[in-house]
């Protein structure tokens, strides 16, 4: 379970990116965070992932206050999370296979098991035939799918995705969402930031509306 209590975030005075957000996402939820550009969606994900710290407030993940975990121990928390960044953050000097394998290398997976998992993850996003290519040889949408494969390859408990279908056509976007939905059915908590109302309507179970950093409303479907 992810619990946020009175989260405030300020990058630069006097503007607030997030204003007093209090939110609970239960284990196994499929949650969409939506709102116009600049409403604080990405900031919220970064805070849950502890890429950045909030200015005020507390966050509990599975009962642990992640703001109190020291820098050299935060890796344990991150191993239980898969994240898809808005800008993908792929390594362009490494092949697609190696980009996805990175997560399993950190965990010390045996080579054979690592190959199997990476192949399966890439097959899920329909990119197994391009695993020996470099990200620069892929289209924008394909790069995004590599980032998704990397986020799900180790079956994390929590998946955070920032606009994961932003550059995909409708058909592929639905495929990707189905993929997240399947992972969610296996018990993982999924939080997705998106503008796409169609996707929200189709897949959404819990919807969080943000506007100018404020939590406008929550809907459980």
């Amino acid at each position: 379970m992810i619990e946020l209590y009175h989260i405030w975030k300020q990058y630069q005075k006097p503007d607030w990116a997030l204003k007093d957000i209090t939110l609970k996402v239960n284990q196994g939820d499929f949650c969409f965070v939506t709102g116009p550009s600049g409403s604080g969606k990405s900031t919220l994900l970064k805070i849950i992932f502890r890429e950045i710290f909030p200015t005020h407030g507390q966050i509990l993940v599975d009962g642990r206050n992640i703001l109190r975990i020291s820098d050299h121990k935060i890796y344990r928390q991150r191993r239980a999370m898969g994240i898809v960044f808005q800008d993908f953050r792929l390594l362009f000097h490494k092949r697609v296979f190696d980009n996805v394998a990175l997560v399993l290398q950190v965990l010390g997976y045996p080579r054979k098991e690592l190959r199997r998992r990476v192949f399966n993850a890439l097959r899920m996003v329909n990119l197994n035939h391009k695993m020996w290519e470099y990200p620069t040889q892929l289209s924008y949408g394909e790069q995004q799918r590599v980032a998704i494969a990397r986020a799900v390859v180790n079956n994390p408990n929590i998946i955070l995705a920032d606009e994961p279908t932003g550059n995909l056509d409708t058909e592929l976007a639905f495929e990707i969402m189905s993929l997240f939905s399947e992972i969610n059915k296996k018990g993982a908590t999924v939080i997705i930031c998106t503008h796409d109302r169609e996707l929200i309507r189709h897949f959404g179970k819990k919807i969080v509306f943000l506007y100018k950093g404020k939590l406008l409303r929550e809907e459980n479907i």
Binding site: R76, R89, L91, Q105, V106, L107
Partner: protein, 299 residues
């Protein structure tokens, strides 16, 4: 799991070394040249030390006796020498034998000796001391006592030379460590900066590794190994260069400097010195990369 991680570290280190080969070659060259300077001076010092040892091996004291010494005084001196624990061997050289030795060494000066119409060489006692590395301070009281004996006119002791040689050897070593120390310090900063550039070039990768749950140790190890390899490689290359210098220097110098050739001759480093040099290189590489990655991970 550990084997997989070790394989990963090995692969990453080799990737790093190859990917940034130009600047890695640069840092190896700097380390190599710094250690070469130290190596040259240590080698020179080794030679001076060796010469000092050679000198001390035939360390002798020559007691020049009065020409008109009485047999009783001569016997008293011989007895005193015989009783001393420092003396290994004593040999009496008469005035005639001394002149004979001189003329054998310098036959051209036969005319000068003839013109003197007398034998200028006093009789002497050549005494070999027992301890090879006898300290000057230990031999001094014995020599002073002998000098005070009736019939002893002068004393010649080559311990002075041995000590001068040893001082020179120490000086060479000190100069080597001073100059080398400065260069090694410079090479430390260069390695540190080269690794820092490598770290910056891999900034994105480090960031992603942290996001996917990589520990600081996991991120750090390939860079540290890279530093150690660069340092050790610099040390090994400096030994190879030193070997070439030692082989080529006498050829370049020829025999124009006479006796000085022997003194500035280079002797290769001992096994422990060579090992210490490579080890120091590795340590410098390790410290250089440790400092750069530590700063980066902290930020």
């Amino acid at each position: 799991m550990i084997a997989q991680k070790l394989k990963h570290f090995q692969r990453e280190t080799l990737n790093n070394l190859w990917q940034f080969r130009a600047r890695n070659v640069f840092s190896v060259t700097i380390i190599c040249l710094s250690f070469l300077i130290v190596g040259i001076f240590v080698s020179l010092s080794n030679n001076l030390q060796y010469t000092a040892q050679q000198l001390s091996q035939d360390m002798a004291v020559v007691f020049f006796l009065a020409k008109d010494i009485s047999p009783a005084d001569q016997e008293a001196i011989a007895k005193e020498l015989e009783n001393s624990p420092l003396v290994q061997k004593t040999q009496f050289v008469s005035s005639e034998q001394a002149m004979e030795k001189f003329l054998t060494k310098f036959p051209d000066l036969q005319g000068v000796v003839d013109n003197l119409k007398m034998n200028p060489f006093p009789p002497s006692l050549e005494v070999m001391l027992r301890e090879k590395d006898l300290a000057y301070e230990e031999a001094q009281p014995f020599i002073e006592r002998m000098n005070g004996m009736k019939g002893v006119e002068d004393i010649q002791f080559n311990k002075d030379w041995v000590e001068k040689m040893q001082s020179l050897s120490r000086l060479a070593k000190a100069v080597g460590f001073f100059l080398g120390g400065i260069l090694i310090l410079a090479s430390f900063f260069i390695v540190s900066n080269v690794i820092k550039l490598n770290v910056i070039a891999r900034k994105d990768e480090i960031e992603i590794l942290r996001f996917v749950g990589g520990t600081n140790v996991f991120i750090r190890i390939p860079f540290l190994t890279e530093g150690v390899i660069l340092g050790a490689l610099g040390g090994i290359l400096s030994l190879l260069l030193l070997f070439i210098v030692i082989k080529l220097f006498p050829v370049y110098l020829g025999s124009s400097l006479g006796i000085l050739n022997e003194l500035i001759n280079f002797r290769f480093l001992t096994f422990s010195q060579s090992f210490a040099l490579i080890f120091s290189g590795a340590i410098i590489g390790l410290l250089g990369s440790l400092s750069s990655i530590a700063k980066f991970l902290k930020s």
